[in-house]
């Protein structure tokens, strides 16, 4: 029955319904105070949220923001298009090394200003994504997972084996955006997390806008169709290979960007940050938050990053904890915390209003859930 029965899940359903009833400009307006708050968090250092004295709070927030960016990128690949990429950390690594190689004094390549390496990292990683995707995206789900895992490992091993990439020694003194404070110290340094935090958050907001644009277009619909039932999508005229490749490329670019940002923020990059374990953490962030939901995965990323930083005695156990999380989630709540409820139409509101008498979609959540994600 067409249910406006929100009593079952009272608060989430009710809030969602009210949110959906607002028009787009109204939604943006409602978000402004939220965004302002987010910007000010590291400065405020709220007592409930703070990670001090264990971890420097602004630094913890930067970590969370960086992971959120990774999650957004991985969400495009895994959550939206349904391509299980277990080697996402490889893209992260490529971006990081691009930034390091082009800014660190220890690299022998020609130097560029740090901010210029950001788009460059995205381009290089995107190319890597396309190169990886071209031969592998015709493979079915689990094979693709293994191949991407292999790719991630190959990148990691090459980082060790190729002398020019400096293995474990790595590159110190990675670049940063320009600017000095009044007292002569750098604005963007490895010690002060706040300016980096603002930079990452700003970039995230831009990314969210772009990804949102893609969701509410032919591209986003193609991705969901591919995820739901690729064969049926092809038969309905969706050029699946092309859009899968785009998902890979975009996910890669975002991964590369975050890699470059992390390299700049920590000021250091070596081969220790690219193990499969990280890919698993990224995946946990996406799944926990709600695969397919770009806000959800940021929440998931926040949790995955914040908990070890806040409860440092758990930090050693984070892989165990998040590994178990994945198992439990898959059994009991595969749609994660927020569940996927994308809007796929740019002009959906008016159409639904005409057809159904109500401007929002009636739905319950789920994206990686059971009950025949693809029939037959």
């Amino acid at each position: 029955m067409t249910s406006t029965d929100n009593t079952r899940k009272n608060t989430p359903g009710g809030i969602r319904a009210r949110w959906n009833n607002l028009s787009r400009p109204q939604q943006w307006l409602a978000l402004v105070p939220v965004v302002v708050l987010i910007y000010f968090i590291p400065v405020i250092d709220p007592p409930l949220l703070t990670t001090e004295p264990y971890t420097n709070f602004p630094i913890a927030m930067v970590h969370a923001a960086e992971l959120a960016m990774v999650a957004i990128g991985l969400n495009v690949v895994v959550g939206q298009a349904g391509l299980l990429d277990l080697g996402y950390v490889g893209f992260f690594a490529v971006g990081a090394y691009v930034a390091a190689l082009l800014t660190s004094k220890e690299s022998m390549l020609h130097k560029l200003p740090y901010l210029a390496t950001l788009p460059l990292a995205m381009v290089v990683t995107m190319l890597a994504g396309v190169l990886l995707g071209l031969p592998t995206l015709r493979l079915r789900g689990d094979y693709l997972a293994i191949v991407t895992l292999g790719f991630g490992e190959i990148v990691r091993l090459l980082a060790t084996l190729v002398p020019a990439l400096n293995g474990q020694v790595g590159f110190a003194d990675v670049g940063h955006p320009p600017g000095t404070n009044a007292d002569g110290s750098l604005i963007f340094s490895a010690r002060d997390g706040t300016p980096w935090y603002w930079l990452v958050v700003t970039l995230i907001i831009i990314l969210l806008l772009f990804v949102g644009n893609l969701e509410r277009s032919r591209v986003g619909r193609a991705w969901v169709a591919i995820r739901e039932d690729e064969d049926a999508a092809q038969i309905m005229g969706v050029p699946t290979f092309k859009f899968k490749l785009w998902a890979f490329a975009i996910g890669a670019a975002i991964g590369g960007l975050s890699g470059a940002l992390v390299a700049g923020q920590t000021g250091f990059m070596n081969n220790q940050n690219f193990s499969v374990a990280f890919s698993v953490l990224y995946l946990a962030a996406v799944i926990l938050g709600g695969s397919g939901n770009k806000v959800g995965v940021m929440v998931g990323a926040f949790i995955v990053s914040y908990i070890p930083d806040r409860f440092t005695n758990l930090s050693d156990r984070k892989y165990l904890i998040f590994g178990l999380f994945l198992v439990v989630l898959m059994i009991f709540r595969p749609q994660g915390l927020l569940g996927a409820r994308q809007r796929l139409l740019a002009r959906g509101r008016q159409a639904y209003q005409r057809l159904v008498g109500r401007g929002e979609q009636i739905s319950s959540d789920s994206s990686v859930s059971a009950e025949g994600g693809g029939q037959a």
């Binding site: 191949v147 790719f151 084996l161 499969v276 698993v280 590994g323 178990l324 198992v327 994600g373």
Partner: protein, 333 residues
């Protein structure tokens, strides 16, 4: 000089050490076959589960390492340590068999538990394949890091069973008792499993479920039991592999020791034809050989890892059916 040229010209990472390769060829061959036998045993576990459930059991590497830990604890308990034991051959064999049994039981138990607790609920719910993969990875990492928390980051102290002794020469190099025992024992085990699958009632049940679960059920095959048996068999083989592994690499038991080994074994399974038991054996031997050759040729032990991954990627891209396997992944409308 153009920086990119410098970058690439510093190609000491690719220096083909052909002389060493030639000199050590037969050495590498026999060593490669030995390791290959170990990979093959583990590969069978992957291929069995994939054949029946179409699932890549990522956690199989942890099934293996659990067996290895059980083995090492048993042997320590029996008095083995980092020094060469002065036991009679009979006593040695007795101890090895006991430890092997323990390892097989441990691995088998973990495998079956894994199926029961992590995979079966998903099967019951009719979860999409993506969910299974995610669970598999989650379990793999949970087990790995549980071990890490329990035993720390370093490997267990070495447990030496016997020192390799050259038995006879062939092709200008010595073949040791170690290599022979491992190779022969592994082959025997693989033959046993192969015959079990082909000839016994239980084996038929497993094959039936692999081909068509619903029809198999209609024909009276207990699907859940067949699946459990599949996991159990894979576990038993992994336990045996653990013994051989510890014989060859006495100090190799560490929390993430299963991971690379597991990937190599999986590459072997894919190479031979995923779902095909004999393919797993063949693939294992090939991966062992090629890995060893590559290591010598390129001068660094980690190259064998890279090679395994590259083989995996290339096979999946160009011949996903593997050498002996059948074509999978065709669309069914």
């Amino acid at each position: 000089m153009h920086p990119l040229t410098v970058f690439l010209a510093d190609s000491s990472w690719i220096n083909f050490d052909v002389t060493s390769f030639r000199q050590e060829f037969w050495d590498n061959t026999f060593n490669g076959l030995t390791f290959g036998a170990i990979y093959a045993l583990i590969a069978m576990g992957y291929t069995l589960v994939y054949g029946v459930l179409r699932l890549i059991n990522f956690a199989h590497s942890e099934v293996f390492i659990a067996g290895a830990y059980a083995l090492v604890f048993t042997l320590s308990g029996l008095g083995f340590d980092g020094s060469v034991p002065g036991l009679s051959t009979l006593a040695l064999i007795g101890d090895m068999l006991l430890a092997c049994l323990v390892a097989m039981l441990a691995s088998g138990a973990i495998a079956v538990l894994l199926e029961r607790i992590a995979y079966r609920p998903l099967r019951r719910k009719g979860a999409p394949p993506l969910a299974f993969l995610i669970t598999a990875i989650g379990v793999s990492f949970a087990i790995q890091y549980a071990i890490f928390i329990w035993r720390g980051a370093s490997a267990e102290p070495a447990v030496i069973l016997f020192v390799p002794k050259a038995l006879f020469s062939a092709f200008g190099t010595n073949i040791t008792n170690q290599q022979l025992i491992i190779f022969v024992a592994a082959i025997v085990l693989m033959l046993l499993i192969d015959q079990f699958i082909q000839r016994t009632r239980f084996g038929r049940g497993v094959r039936a479920v692999a081909q068509d679960p619903d029809t198999a059920t209609l024909m009276g095959v207990n699907k859940e039991r067949a699946i459990m048996l599949t996991f159990l068999l894979g576990g038993l083989l992994a336990g045996a592999a653990a013994l051989f592994y510890v014989i060859k690499v006495p100090s190799g038991v560490v929390f993430n020791g299963g991971f690379t080994l597991g990937i190599k074994a999986f590459a072997a399974a894919v190479l031979g034809g995923i779902g095909n038991i004999r393919g797993a054996a063949l693939g294992g031997l090939l991966i062992g050989l090629v890995g060893n050759y590559g290591q010598t040729l390129l001068g660094n032990a980690q190259w064998s890892d890279v090679i395994a991954f590259v083989v995996l990627v290339v096979v999946l891209m160009f011949r996903p059916t593997g050498i002996l396997g059948e074509s999978l992944g065709k669309a069914r409308v």
